[in-house]
Symmetry: D2
Subunit: 253 residues, 4 copies
C-alpha cells in the first residue's frame, strides 16, 4: 500500500540508525528520522538526500522523496508526538517504526542517581512505548506494519554495573513481547533484535562516497545489522521472527 511506504527511525546516529535508514531507503521507503540533537540528524539526512538524487531515474526512484528529519526527545510525550506528527504530515502514515534510541551509564547500583536510573529507562524503554502508541493506530487500521526494537546483550543479561542499561533493555523486550502477542494476529509484525556486541560506528563523515571499508572483526558492521532488520521486515506473515540475535563471528557469548 503506497500510503504506508514510510519508515521512521527513532534514535538516529552515525551507526545503526543511519544504516537502517539507508537500507530502508534502498528498499524504496520514504524515511523519517528522529533524534534529540540536530548534529545527529544532519549528516544522515544529507547522505540519504545525495543517494536519493543519484538514484533518480534508477531502480531506486521510489526513494525520490527526500528524507524528513525532526529533532525530538523520544522520552518527552509532547515532543515525540509533535515530531511524529510532522513526519506523518510530510511523508504519510508510518508503515515501519524502528526504535533505536538507547542509553547506558556505567556504574554500580550505588553509583547511579535515581534521576539517572530513571532517565536511562526512559530512553531505553519508555520512548519505545510512546513511539509505538503513535504508529499503532494507523497500522492496525491497515492491518499492516512493522515495529522493530533494537535490543542488546543487556536485553537478556543484567551484568554487574550495567543496571542502567539492562533495566530498560529488559523492559523493552517485555514491551516487544506484549506487543507482538497483542498485535501480530492483527497484522503488525513486532520484532526484537538482540545486538550482542559493539557496533562499529564510523567516525568519518557519512558522505555519498562513503567507502564502508574493513570493519574491526570484533565489532558489528551497522550495514550488516540493517540487512537483517530489512529481512525481518520482509518476511511474509506465514513465518515471522519475533527475536533474533546478531554478533560478530569472533564474539564470545
Amino acid at each position: 500500500m503506497e500510503s504506508s511506504n514510510v519508515a521512521v527511525v527513532v534514535g538516529v546516529g552515525p551507526g545503526l540508525g543511519a544504516a537502517v535508514a539507508r537500507r530502508f531507503a534502498a528498499g524504496g521507503y520514504k524515511i523519517g528520522l528522529i533524534a534529540r540533537r540536530e548534529e545527529s540528524l544532519a549528516p544522515v539526512a544529507e547522505e540519504l538526500r545525495s543517494r536519493g538524487a543519484t538514484a533518480v531515474g534508477s531502480a531506486l526512484s521510489a526513494m525520490a522523496t527526500m528524507p524528513h528529519a525532526v529533532v525530538a526527545d523520544a522520552t518527552d510525550p509532547a515532543s515525540l508526538a509533535a515530531g511524529i506528527k510532522e513526519i506523518t504530515t510530510k511523508l504519510g502514515p508510518i508503515g515501519v517504526l524502528v526504535y533505536n534510541a538507547g542509553s547506558y551509564q556505567p556504574g554500580g547500583v550505588l553509583e547511579l542517581t535515581p534521576e539517572a536510573f530513571e532517565a536511562n529507562w526512559k530512553i531505553n524503554c519508555f520512548g519505545a512505548f510512546l513511539a509505538a502508541q503513535h504508529v499503532l493506530p494507523s497500522m492496525l487500521a491497515r492491518r499492516h506494519g512493522t515495529i522493530l526494537f533494537s535490543g542488546a546483550t543487556a536485553s537478556r543479561r543484567g551484568s554487574a554495573r550495567f543496571s542502567s542499561l539492562a533495566v530498560g533493555k529488559f523492559g523493552l523486550r517485555a514491551l516487544a513481547q506484549s506487543m507482538a502477542r497483542e498485535y501480530a494476529p492483527q497484522g503488525v509484525h513486532v520484532a526484537h533484535i538482540v545486538i550482542d556486541g559493539q557496533i562499529a560506528t564510523p567516525r568519518a563523515s557519512l558522505t555519498a562516497s562513503r567507502a564502508p571499508g574493513p570493519v574491526s572483526p570484533t565489532m558489528l558492521d551497522p550495514d550488516a545489522i540493517a540487512e537483517t532488520y530489512f529481512h525481518i521486515h520482509s518476511q511474509p506473515e506465514s513465518a515471522w521472527t519475533f527475536e533474533t540475535d546478531l554478533r560478530p563471528s569472533v564474539e564470545t557469548f
Copy 2:
C-alpha cells in the same frame, strides 16, 4: 551479628508481605514494614505484635521487639528515605530487604496512558532500586545481607495486555541480576523469586488466632511462599540461589 537482625518488607499487604513478615519474625528478626497506605500496615503490624507478645519467654523471644510500621511511598525517593531512616533508627541497621511492591493495570499498549505506564514501572522496579540503595551501604560494610525481590510470571514473559506489569518485572529481574553479580562476591545475597500464579490473599482479618485454612489449590499460599523466601535467606554462602520459581502443583506453565 545482632545489629543486623532486622528485616524490612517494602510493599506490605494482607498476602505475601504479611506472610514474609510473619516468617522472618518467627525466625527471630525484628520487622520493619513499609506500605503506602496505613490500612495495609495496621492489621499486619497488629498481628505481629500479638504474636510477639505471646512468644515472650518462648523460643521466639528474640522477636520480643515490636514491629515498626511506616507509611511511605516506595517510588518517591524522599518518602522512602524517610521511612527507611525511621526504621533503622528504631530497630537498627537492616540485614534483610524484601521488595514486594507491585502494580498491574490490565490493558493493551493503546489503552495505557504514558503516566500509567511510568507509574507502574516505578512501583514494580524503580522503588526496588531506591530501597536497595538505602540498605546496601551497611550490608556491604558488614559484608552480610539478603535482598529478596518478588517476581511474577510476567518477570519472564510479556503477555498480551500485560505490558504495564511485565516492563517493570523484567526490569526488576535485570536489576536483581546486576546486583547479584555486583554484590554477591561482597557478601550480599540477592535473589529473585518468580511467583508463577495467583497468591491467595486472606480476606478475613489477620489475627493471632488466624487459622490458615484450606487455600484454593489453584492459588499460592503466601505462607508457603514465605517459607521459601526464608530458606533462600538461610542458605550458606557456598550454595546461594539467585532465582527460583514457585507455583501451585496444578498450575499450568
Copy 3:
C-alpha cells in the same frame, strides 16, 4: 570458493527439507539430499531437476548441476558416512549443512519405551552430531561454512507428553550452542532456527509447475522458512545470527 558451492540437506521430505533445497538451488548451490526413504527423496530430486533444466542459460545456470539424492540413515554412523561420502564425491566438499531430521512420538513418560525414547533422540540430536562431524573438517580447512539446525517449539519448552521430541530438540540446541561457540571464530556459521508452529506440508505433488497457493494462516509456509534459512546463511561474518524464531502471525506464543 567454487568448491564449497554444495549444500546438503539431511532429513528431506515434501515440506521444509524440500523448500530449503529449492532455496539454496535457486541461490546457485549444488544440492545433496539425504533421507531414510527413497519415497521422500524422489519427488524432491525430480522437482529440482526440472527446475534446473528450466534454469539453464538463465541467471540460475550455476544450478545446472543436477541434485544428488542418497538414501541413508542419519542415526547410523556407517550409513550416514557412506551417504555423505557419495555426495562429496559427486558434488564436491560441502559448504552448507542443513540438519532437518526430526521425530516425535506423542505420549507421557510412562507410555514411551526406552527403545522409542532413545530412537527419537537419535533422530533429533545424534544424527546432527554425526553429520556435523563429517562436514566440519573441510569447512574448518577452508575457514568457511554454514551449519543450520531445524529447531522447534520443543527446543525451548518441554511440554507434557512431548519428552520424546523435547529431549532431542533441547539436546540439538545444546549441540548447536557448543558448536557455534567452538567454530564461529574459525569461520563456520552455526545457527539454530526455532520453528514455533506447524509446517504446512504440501500434500499435492511437488512439480515444477507447483503453485504455492494460499497456506493456512495457522501454519508456516516452508518456502517462507527457507527464505530465512538462506538469509542467515548469507549474513556477513560481522553480524551472524545464532538463533532466530519463526511462527505464523496468528500463532499464540
Copy 4:
C-alpha cells in the same frame, strides 16, 4: 504415608550423592543407594549406617532402618530395573527419587567419538528417564512423590567443548519440564536444580566423625546443596519450585 518413606539416590559418590543421602536420612527417610561401582557405594553406606546406629533412640530413630546400596548401571534398563526392584523389596515403595548421575568428557565436536557422545547422553539423561519410569507408577497411585534432577551450568548453556555434557543436561531439563507438566497436577513434585559451579568433593574418608571443615569459597559444599534439595522436597503443594539455581557467592555467572 509410612510406605513411601523411602528415598533413592541414583548416582552416588562421595560428593553430592552422599550429601543428599545424609540429608534425607536425617529427615527420617530410609535410603536406597545406586551406583555403578561398589567403591562409590561402600563408604556412603557405611557412613549412613554408623550415623543411624548413633541415632537410635534419638529423634532420628526413624532412620533405624539401614540404608540399602545396590550396584547397578543406570543406563542399562535391565540392570537399573533389578537394582530398583531390590531396593523396593527391601525398603518399600519409593517416595523420593534423586537422579544425580552425570558424565562429562571434555572435547570439541571433532574430538568425541559417536560412542562417547551417546554414552554421555545415556548417563546424563537416558538413565533419568529409566529411573523415572520405575518410580512413577507407585507415586501416581499414591498421588504423592518427589523427583529431583541434578542439573548443571551446562543445563542452560552449551559451551565450547562441552557438548558431551550439555546435550544430556539440556535433555534432562527437557525431560524434567515434560514430567513436571505431566505429573505435578497428579501430585508428583518434579524439580530441576541447576548447580552452577564445581562441587567440593571430600577427598577424605566419609566417616561418622567427618568434620565438614572449610570448603573452598569457589566451590559448592555438597551438604549446602542437599539442604536445598530437602527444602524443595518439603514444599507444600501450594508453592512448588520447578527450577532453582545454586552457586557459591563468589561464582561469576
